[in-house]
């Protein structure tokens, strides 16, 4: 018996079943609300800005940021929100974000490389679930700090007018994803690897027998 099972009394069990039931009832409706209703990135888009300083020179960083593999390396994590990035061409990929209630937001994303000071832009193609566009810019940092990486991302609230009610949480969530991606980018650039808890031993997959 797992510790989770041991700890779950009748009250926890009933709550868990109620939660599962709610999820099953609400999820299909919510999925219909968001699917293909992203609209376009207009005046009502949520603006997310994040920055990080990386101890590498701008040219070296620009090269890393233009890499087609980068989005997958930065966004696909075993530790945070579930995002998958599947390449669909040399400059395009399908991003799938798994949100609360198991909702799937799918976007086909096209990327465009640029000069060192603005090495990457991307945008979601029309018709997806999550309309957004972004740009990465590089600026020299002072003294021995390296280079500042600035991300600016605009996200249209999904699910039309209903989604506009959730602008605050959307901004928080998008900001957190962007910040985590920048931090992972910094680690990759400075150390050649991204910190991870993959295969981290824990008692969540445990047996009590020796």
């Amino acid at each position: 018996m797992s510790p989770q099972e041991q700890d779950h009394g009748p009250v926890h069990g009933a709550l868990g079943k109620a939660e599962d039931g709610l999820r099953k009832a609400v999820a299909p409706v919510a999925q219909r609300l968001v699917s293909g209703r992203a609209g376009s990135v207009g005046d009502d888009a949520v603006l997310v800005r994040q920055a990080i300083t990386i101890g590498r020179d701008a040219e070296e960083l620009a090269q890393l940021l233009r890499s087609p593999e980068l989005a997958r390396q930065l966004l696909t994590t075993s530790d945070g929100p579930e995002i998958s990035v599947e390449p669909t061409g040399p400059d395009s990929a399908r991003w799938t974000v798994t949100g609360p209630l198991g909702l799937h937001l799918v976007s086909d994303v096209r990327r465009e490389s640029g000069p060192t000071e603005e090495p990457l832009r991307w945008h979601a193609e029309p018709g997806g679930d999550l309309a957004h566009e972004g740009v990465l810019r590089l600026k020299p940092a002072r003294e021995d700090w390296g280079t500042e990486l600035h991300a600016e991302i605009r996200v249209a609230p999904p699910a039309g007018p209903l989604g506009r009610l959730g602008r605050g949480p959307l901004q928080t969530a998008a900001g957190a994803v962007a910040m985590k991606a920048l931090r992972r980018c910094k680690s990759l650039a400075e150390t050649g690897e991204v910190p991870t808890l993959r295969d981290n031993p824990s008692g969540r997959t445990t047996t009590t027998e020796s």
Partner: protein, 387 residues
């Protein structure tokens, strides 16, 4: 492998968990030879540090033998006997390059859990909640060590496993706390707490030239150990600490005060009762008696060195710090910075951290070990587990 896991508030068990493995190219896997209890673990076990998850493997102070090496590890050799600082550095970011290792920017996989409260995340640490990285801890047969070349320090011949063990956390924390005090020859340094960190801070202050070190605690055996290291002692249950420190320093106060107690301080009087009730009701995380006392005791223009782990505290006397012009210095420990000089002190016989071990037991008995440690039973200062 066998490991000590946290299954909820004050609920520990030794269980079989998946083996530690190489994940990133700069990792090694260490066979743990010694791993020890730390007072800061008690804050996690009691649920005062948020983001522990059921099943997390505890422990962050350890040493062992390298048994597996990642593809890009260049200096750390299989078979080496090494000690590993509890906070994980990368050696490549600005913070590591400036010897601020516990502020490393590249080793915490969960920065988003800390940033909202702290602004910017710390380095990752083993076995110390998910906000601090979520890495599996050392109370296990094996542990994965990221960025091994930056974090594994070979233990010289003649240094025992248990001497090396405490160089992972207790010694560097105390040593750093004394270093923060910029001790001038003859200075008086007061140290709150005679646990592993406090005792090592006392010894370090003496090694750095302090004229007097005054240790404050209530446990007779701990006070006796402090005296054996060369400190004078005050039992706060028997004396008015502030008054005594004032008298013994000619009315000036100690030149530097090191706080090595943290958020579960014991104490006396109504302020202590107030903290105890608010902490029990989860209205604050900290019982701050020792820290408040250290602030008030310190001489004007002196240094306050804070080593205890804290969360959110009521009634923090910021006005005293400001009006007396204290310099406050604090950090999680930068062990990588101090390791060479600490090892030199041990090799040359000036420092023997193994005095901290009062109990030694197999990892299978770790639940009992933590009970002894938490309740300070049987004169327990530290329990060394042998996996």
């Amino acid at each position: 492998m066998r490991a000590l896991v946290w299954n909820g508030v004050n609920d520990l068990a030794v269980e079989t968990v998946p083996d530690a493995t190489i994940v990133n190219p700069h990792d090694i896997v260490l066979k743990v030879l010694r791993t020890t209890t730390c007072g800061s673990d008690l804050h996690v076990i009691s649920g005062y540090i948020p983001s522990a998850r059921q099943g997390d493997v505890l422990g962050h102070e350890f040493m062992g033998e390298v048994v597996e090496v990642g593809s890009e590890v260049t200096k750390t050799r299989k078979g080496a006997r090494v000690v590993v600082p509890s906070f994980i550095g990368c050696s490549k970011c600005w913070y590591c390059e400036h010897d601020l290792w516990s502020a490393c920017d590249n080793t915490n996989p969960n920065p988003e859990l800390q940033a909202p409260e702290m602004g910017y995340p710390t380095a990752g640490i083993y076995g110390y909640t998910h906000a601090f990285g979520g890495y599996a801890g050392s109370h296990a047969e094996y542990i994965r060590v990221p960025h091994a070349d930056a974090n594994c320090f070979t233990v010289p011949e003649g240094v025992t496993d248990e001497q090396a063990l405490y160089l992972s956390d207790a010694v560097p924390t105390g040593y750093m706390g004394a270093d923060f005090c910029d001790i001038a020859p003859g200075d008086t340094v007061a140290v709150w707490g005679c646990g592993g960190v406090g005792l090592m801070a006392q010894k370090s202050a003496l090694l750095m030239g302090a004229g007097r070190v005054i240790a404050i605690d209530r446990i007779p055996e701990r006070l006796a150990l402090a005296r054996s290291l060369g400190a004078e002692t005050l039992d706060y249950t028997q004396t008015d600490v502030l008054e005594e420190l004032k008298q013994t320093t000619g009315g000036r106060g100690p030149d530097a005060c090191i706080e090595a107690v943290g958020m579960e301080a014991h104490g006396t009087g109504p302020q202590y009762a107030y903290d105890k009730v608010k902490q029990a009701l989860r209205l604050e995380t900290d019982r701050g008696q020792a820290l408040r006392e250290a602030i008030i005791a310190c001489r004007k223009g002196g240094v306050l060195s804070v080593l205890g782990v804290y969360g959110l505290m009521d009634k923090f006397p910021m006005g005293v710090i400001m009006n007396k012009g204290l310099t406050v210095r604090s950090a999680q420990q930068h062990g990588q910075r101090y390791m060479p000089e600490m090892l030199e002190h041990v090799v040359e016989g000036r420092l023997d951290p193994s005095i901290l071990t009062t109990h030694r037991m197999p990892l299978e008995d770790a639940v009992r070990g933590y009970a002894l440690f938490k309740e300070k039973q049987d004169a327990c200062i530290r329990v060394a587990f042998v996996p």
